[in-house]
């Protein structure tokens, strides 16, 4: 049974790219274009991993994370922060907020499947 990954990303092209790459790699991919939608999808079909963009319309990635953590049904799902600013400070902030991992944009098509596999095993850095 393949793992189920929820991708929360507002940019349709990025979303499509991540979805296609993960699907080719054999993952089941769920999509959401906002934090609210992400919460909805996560509650409806509890994923094994969430890739959460930090900059989202409406509630941002951090707020979405906190709401996931506040819901016992999905509180244990690992959530990886995805951010466009590949700076050490963003990484530190992501961990301080309680994310389980950190992925810097631009994502590497070649590495993404391996990185996701690592996150599913509980590793922090993709």
């Amino acid at each position: 049974v393949s793992a189920r990954v929820l991708v929360v990303e507002d940019n349709p092209l990025n979303l499509k790219l991540v979805r296609d790459v993960l699907q080719v790699a054999g993952y089941e991919v769920l999509e959401a274009r906002s934090g609210e939608e992400g919460l909805e999808v996560a509650r409806a079909a509890v994923p094994d991993l969430v890739l959460m963009d930090l900059q989202l319309p409406g509630i941002d990635g951090v707020e979405a994370l906190h709401r996931l953590r506040g819901d016992p049904a999905v509180a244990d799902v690992p959530v990886v922060a995805v951010t466009a600013f590949a700076m050490a400070e963003d990484r530190a902030r992501a961990y301080a907020e309680g994310f389980d991992g950190y992925l810097a944009k631009p994502i590497s098509v070649r590495s993404l499947p391996t990185q996701v596999a690592g996150f599913l095993r509980g590793e922090r850095d993709g």
Partner: protein, 792 residues
């Protein structure tokens, strides 16, 4: 003989003699006048010329100019007196009384004569007469306006009265000497004013420097008022104004006035004084003063009309010009009719020159202000634009790169050769653009002063290996051999690892880019004194001398490499900025046809550089050592004092502690006993202590060590501790060094503004010191309550 003829002959002879006399006198007067022209530079020489000429023309043995100094005279110029006589006069000065001819001339304001001083009953200075041996004496007063300032005296050794012509000449020379004295007075006053004006201009400049130029227009008015007031006084006038030329409107406007009633000033300010058709305009256009001795005798323009209506009778307009640029005009006026002497006009020209300078300075400052404000706005907009552009451009670029990669990875099937080639072009261009974007953003960060180094301790060799990894693939594709040669003694360095890597990658990718197939790129690193030195050498085409500076400028590419060669043109600019930010330098050695070597030298900001003895803790849920190090570095880079709270739970209290060098604490106190005590407290804590006894020493030590903590006394001999703190915070290298303030009184107010979280009140107790150092992260866990635990 015809008596008529005889008479005629005698008359002719007399006439000839008179003519000779007149010619001689004319020549002499001319000489004096010429000398007068030089009086500005050397008044004594002019007085010397006057006494010499007077002695010769009046056929006397000696001639003297005396100046009144209180109740006596001093000898200002003399001919015919020996040194003994001068000394005698200095010791026994002539008094302003009736004992001497000089004294009488001064007292009576008229020429005084004594056919024989020995038979003059009132003559009281036989001492002088005996020394100088004269019999006939005359003296004329030096009159300046209504004041007597001195006297000119002539002496003959025998009883030989001066004729009327000689007395007239004497008076003339006395008048000339008075002019010299007036010059001297005026010059002195002018010099005084000059000094004061220079001071004002300095103030003006100083003001602009501290950005308080808002008030510079007020200062300008003050300067102009001072100039005007003095101009009016020196010219013996009753009032005046300074006008500024408004170039855009080709007219003058009244800037400041003196001796002018409120109503007239208002009317003058309301006037449109055109460059054409006005007296002021004419003076400015012709670049020379215009004097109107009687306003009733001329056609009056509206400006002159206003003045006349207000009761003014004569006007002098002096243009204020600089080179050929019209700046304004200086106008002085009198309530009486009369000429303006050439001398007055000259002096006013000097005042006008000073006004020009003041106005020009003020204009420069005004421009500077406006420009600075504009630049600030532009710079802010630029930063905002770049930040948003960066995000907006990256997102679609990431899609371009990602989808090209998906296809190149054959996720969706095989590609033909042409498709693969084009996809590689798309991918390469996308990556190039992304790189360029990053560099633009970094450059703008550096330029805006928003890039702050984040110092950590790391093995130099790892940073260099990272650089090689980044270009290895590309080098292999071009058949270029890469080598790394690191001095084994290099060990750990303290710098900004991320930025250092960025520079090395940049230099390496440049080298690989410009080295032909089959070439070599060598990286070497070693320690040179307190610096880490890295060189990247290639055996590419080399860089001509004329390009060696240019390639460090934005969007320039060296002549090495084909013009179409890909390159952002920002890489080296950014390298230079980053290296400078890290306190180092970058330079280039190159030989055309042989190769290029780029060298960087950056300070290793830690002084303790022992090689690591233990390996970093194993990776785990709690975070790797690298993560912890980064986290604490981040906290220090952004939030001021480091706090252990920024490190994820479970990570070591300070990232560099395990296996890293000993913590360094700089102790600052002017009292040796206090220093010794603090150092003793830290004994056995595993810290290295550096002591400083004044502010300058403290700053030097802290900049050198970039310590884990500073214990800072507030009362220091050269500057107070707050100033030390301010300077530390202003320096990106020392900005985030934690500071524990130790003072006799509790002075928290300025400290909290400077990011001080720990205050100790002297005398400092050992436990308090250790706790404070622990709280700022300078001492590891386990020493917070060590009063008894840690041995000495």
């Amino acid at each position: 003989m015809d008596p008529q003829l005889e008479v005629t002959s005698a008359t002719a002879e007399r006439l000839q003699r008179t003519l000779d006399d007149v010619t001689e006198q004319f020549a002499a007067t001319n000489e004096v006048l010429t000398a007068l022209g030089r009086s500005a530079s050397d008044p004594d020489a002019v007085l010397g010329t006057i006494v010499e000429t007077a002695r010769r023309l009046c056929r006397s043995k000696a001639a003297q100019v005396y100046l009144i100094d209180g109740d006596h005279f001093t000898l200002a110029a003399s001919v015919g007196f020996g040194e003994d006589m001068r000394r005698h006069l200095a010791e026994h000065p002539i008094r302003v009384d009736r004992e001497t001819l000089v004294g009488r001339a001064a007292s009576d304001r008229s020429v005084q004569t004594a056919v024989d001083v020995l038979s003059d009953p009132g003559y009281g200075r036989r001492d002088i007469q005996e020394l100088a041996g004269y019999r006939t004496a005359v003296a004329a007063p030096l009159l300046l306006d209504d004041d007597v300032v001195g006297a000119l005296s002539l002496l003959r050794p025998t009883v030989d009265p001066f004729d009327r012509a000689a007395l007239t000449l004497l008076e003339t020379f006395a008048a000339q000497a008075a002019v010299v004295v007036r010059h001297v007075h005026l010059l002195r006053a002018l010099e005084d004013r000059g000094v004061e004006l220079a001071r004002r201009v300095e103030q003006l400049e100083a003001l602009s420097e501290v950005g308080a130029a808002v008030s510079s227009s007020l200062v300008l008015d003050e300067v102009l008022s001072t100039i005007l007031m003095n101009a009016v006084r020196f010219a013996g006038c009753d009032g005046g104004s300074v006008m500024e030329y408004v170039e855009a409107e080709r007219r003058f406007s009244v800037r400041t006035a003196y001796g002018t009633g409120r109503e007239l000033l208002d009317r003058l300010r309301a006037l449109w004084i055109d460059l054409d058709g006005t007296t002021v305009g004419r003076a400015a256009r012709e670049g020379r003063p215009v004097a109107i001795p009687d306003l009733d005798a001329v056609d009056r323009d509206p400006h002159l009309q206003e003045l006349r209506a207000d009761g003014w009778r004569s006007v002098l307009v002096v243009p204020v010009v600089r080179d050929t640029q019209i700046i304004g005009a200086l106008v002085v006026r009198r309530r009486s009719v009369g000429d303006f002497p050439a001398e007055t006009v000259d002096f006013l020209a000097a005042f006008a020159g000073q006004s020009a300078l003041a106005v020009l300075n003020a204009r420069l400052f005004r421009e500077l202000e406006v420009k600075t404000a504009e630049l600030e706005v532009v710079s802010r907009h630029k930063s905002e634009f770049l930040a948003s552009m960066s995000h907006e451009l990256r997102t679609p670029l990431n899609a371009v790169i990602g989808f090209s990669e998906v296809l190149l990875e054959r996720y969706f099937g095989e590609l033909n050769e042409r498709q693969e080639e084009y996809l590689r072009d798309i991918l390469g261009s996308g990556q190039h653009l992304l790189e360029l974007l990053g560099e633009i953003l970094d450059l703008s960060k550096v330029e805006a002063g928003r890039m702050e180094p984040e110092y950590t301790v790391f093995p130099a060799v790892e940073a260099l290996e990272h650089g090689l990894t980044m270009v290895r693939e590309r080098a292999a594709a071009h058949g270029i051999a890469l080598t790394l040669d690191v001095d084994p003694a290099l060990g750990l360095v303290r710098s900004d690892e991320l930025r250092l890597k960025q520079v090395v990658v940049n230099l390496l990718s440049n080298a690989v880019k410009f080295t032909p197939r089959g070439g070599h790129v060598d990286v070497r690193a070693r320690r040179l004194g307190p610096e880490l030195q890295v060189t990247v050498s290639d055996d590419g085409p080399g860089i001509p001398v004329e390009d060696r500076e240019r390639i460090f400028e934005a969007f320039q590419q060296g002549g090495r490499g084909a013009p179409k060669e890909e390159g952002t043109g920002l890489g080296l600019t950014l390298c230079r900025r980053i290296v400078a930010l890290l306190g180092g330098r970058i330079w280039l050695e190159s030989q055309v046809g042989v190769g290029s070597t780029f060298c960087i030298a950056v300070p290793d900001t830690s002084s303790a550089t022992a090689a690591p003895t233990t390996s970093a803790p194993a990776a785990g849920r709690a975070g790797t050592a690298g993560t912890a190090g980064t986290a604490s570095g981040t906290a220090s880079g952004t939030a001021g004092p480091r706090s252990a709270g920024a490190v994820p739970d479970g990570a070591p209290a300070a990232g560099r502690r395990p296996g890293g060098p000993r913590p360094v604490v700089v102790l600052v106190d002017d009292d040796r006993a206090s220093l010794d005590l603090l150092a003793a407290y830290l004994d056995g804590q595993g810290t290295r202590v550096v002591a400083a006894r004044d502010g300058a020493g403290a700053l030097a030590a802290i900049r050198r060590e970039v310590p884990d903590a500073v214990v800072l006394d507030i009362r220091l001999p050269d500057m107070d501790g707050w100033e030390v703190l301010e300077r530390l915070r202003a320096d990106p290298v020392t900005r985030s060094v934690p500071v524990v303030v130790a003072s006799i009184v509790e002075e928290r107010a300025p400290g909290s503004a400077l990011g001080v979280t720990e205050h100790l009140v002297k005398p400092v107790a050992r436990d308090d010191l250790l706790r404070a150092l622990h709280r700022v992260g300078a001492l590891p866990d386990g020493v917070s309550g060590p009063a008894s635990g840690a041995g000495r």
